[in-house]
Amino acid sequence: MVATLAAAMLALASQRQTDTTFAVPAGASLSVNNFGGGITVHAWNENRVKVHGDVGRRGRVEVSLVGSTVVVKTGSREGAPSVIDLDITVPQSMGLTLGGTYADITVEGVQGPISGETVNGEINIRGGKGIITLHSIQGSVTLADASGRIEVNSVNEAIELSHVTGEIKVETTNGDVTLTGIQSSSVDAGTINGDVVYEGTVTDGGSYSFGSHNGDISVSIPERANVTITVATANGDIDASFALPMTNTAGKHRKTFKIGSGSARMELESFQGDIELRRPQEMRERIEEHKHDHDNDNDNDHDRDRDTSFSFHFDAGTWNYAARYAKAYAPKYAKAYAPRYARAYARMYARTYKQSYRSTDTTSH
């Protein structure tokens, strides 16, 4: 094994683009650390790991086995860190620990525990089973078709979970949280500056908590749900597309509704935003409509591309930093940043105007 890996390391170090494949023991896990570029992991039905790396002229990839963990590290043979795209194929049940700084993380079809952490990069995962933790500072996080104990965290972007089963905890600061097709008895989702959407099960005895400071909260309540819903908003409205039997109010900011036996508990809290309760079908239609809007909105500013002009903000430091690194780095990441900034600023301005409108509206009454 060691000889195989050593050979793999040499092979990876000496070519611009290379592949290596080696057998791994049952139960082995994978740990990848890639400063910049992409980490893409696929699954196959073999007890072997295949590492493909676009290493460029200066980059290098080191592969080693530490205990039962396959460790993949990238680096540079000289100067600043290299941008390397890794494409790795692993046994389906392999556990993954993937980390980077300027790395986009993509996983397809793995059915083991997954840990993904990046600073400036997106995380897109399809699959995963067991403990799944995904963290990004500047990058959206999407997770689909996963099950287990899920913790997803971003700071400046949106989080989307679809067809996920298990205990779910999701949090971002400046972005929307969208949870669809969820099967869970425990969901805790929150953002400061964004909307929260939940379409999923409401299980008897379950616990559901959705919160935002500036955004709206939209939750689907199945018709036969047994749930006690506590709704709190300081400045927003509460709206339901069905009759809500209010049990009582506790203080001026909090109301409680009991549906069926009230077995599950749900807390919906938004300081500035509205709270909406919808039936699942209605919610699904709205989500589809929203997706359709996005499909016609290539710059993701939620206007179906009616823009006539738009200004982007790039500070000098951003360009200087990018320029310090490889030629491939700057165009790739500058291209990636433009739509991200457009999205973030469009969202921020939309909320600012919305709040201004609200306060104007309040004072005029």
Binding site: T101, V119, N120, H135, I137, Q138, V155, N156, E171, T173, N174, G190, I192, N193, S207, G211, H213, N214, T228, T230, A232, A234, T247, N248, T249, A250, G251, K252, H253, R254, K255, T256, K258, R265, E267, E269, F271, Q272, D315, G317, T318, N320, Y321, Y337
Partner: protein
């Protein structure tokens, strides 16, 4: 607050009421929103407290505990008693003011703020944030925030020292998001000034401050690793 059932909620949750009292309280909960909401908060506090990891006791502690066990306790055997000790359900009895204080403390603790704050207490100061809340009863004008503010200030100072290790994009994004959180904190504080005893506003402020603590800690960790 004069509700006769209010102070029985903790016993209700611990299953200590007899069947008659329990039925009466069930009936009361169906009509009293305040008690119902309070019970919800209580459940949340207990759930969070139960989710906290047990710290490992001193390895020499067990012989002393065993020595103090009565014979009837001892008859279960050491293994049995140990198992009972680890699997026994944690019980918590709160008054309503304690409940709110504990809620705020637990929200902050989950982000490590209380830990930091307590760490910063001089050794001759016996009362950390949660204990002080306990003494004062209802959280008047969110006085608990002072300790967390101090913890946040320390984390921000550390970030200022270390942010040169981060690239300008990350620094700008972090600052932008800290500003968003600061604005949310300011808005929650203003609302709380008008309604200091409001449980939702207290918890919302605590949760927003926890987010700030978590973001600062996370970015400091990233800077330290850079």
């Amino acid at each position: 607050m004069n509700d006769i059932w209010m102070n029985r909620l903790s016993e209700y949750l611990d299953g200590e009421l007899d069947s008659t009292e329990r039925a009466a309280l069930d009936a009361h909960l169906a009509t009293c929103g305040v008690c119902f909401a309070t019970l919800g908060e209580l459940k949340r506090v207990v759930a969070r407290a139960q989710a906290l990891e047990d710290s490992q006791p001193d390895k020499d502690l067990w012989p002393r505990i065993r020595a103090r066990l009565t014979p009837e306790h001892g008859s279960a055997g050491v293994g049995g008693a140990r198992q009972a000790a680890t699997t026994a359900r944690r019980r918590f009895t709160f008054s309503v003011p304690q409940l709110l204080a504990a809620s705020v403390a637990l929200v902050l603790m989950s982000g490590g703020a209380v830990g930091i704050a307590m760490h910063q207490q001089p050794s001759n100061t016996p009362a950390p944030a949660a204990a002080r809340l306990h003494e004062r009863g209802m959280v008047a004008a969110a006085s608990w925030t002072g300790t967390t503010d101090a913890a946040i200030a320390d984390l921000q100072a550390t970030l200022t020292q270390n942010e040169s290790r981060l690239d300008t994009t990350t620094v700008r994004i972090v600052r932008q998001n800290l500003a968003i959180i600061d604005r949310a904190i300011a808005e929650a504080r203003i609302a709380l000034q008008k309604d200091p005893g409001n449980a939702y506003l207290n918890l919302h402020l605590a949760d927003t401050m926890r987010r700030k603590v978590e973001l600062l800690r996370r970015v400091n960790d990233i800077a330290a690793q850079s």
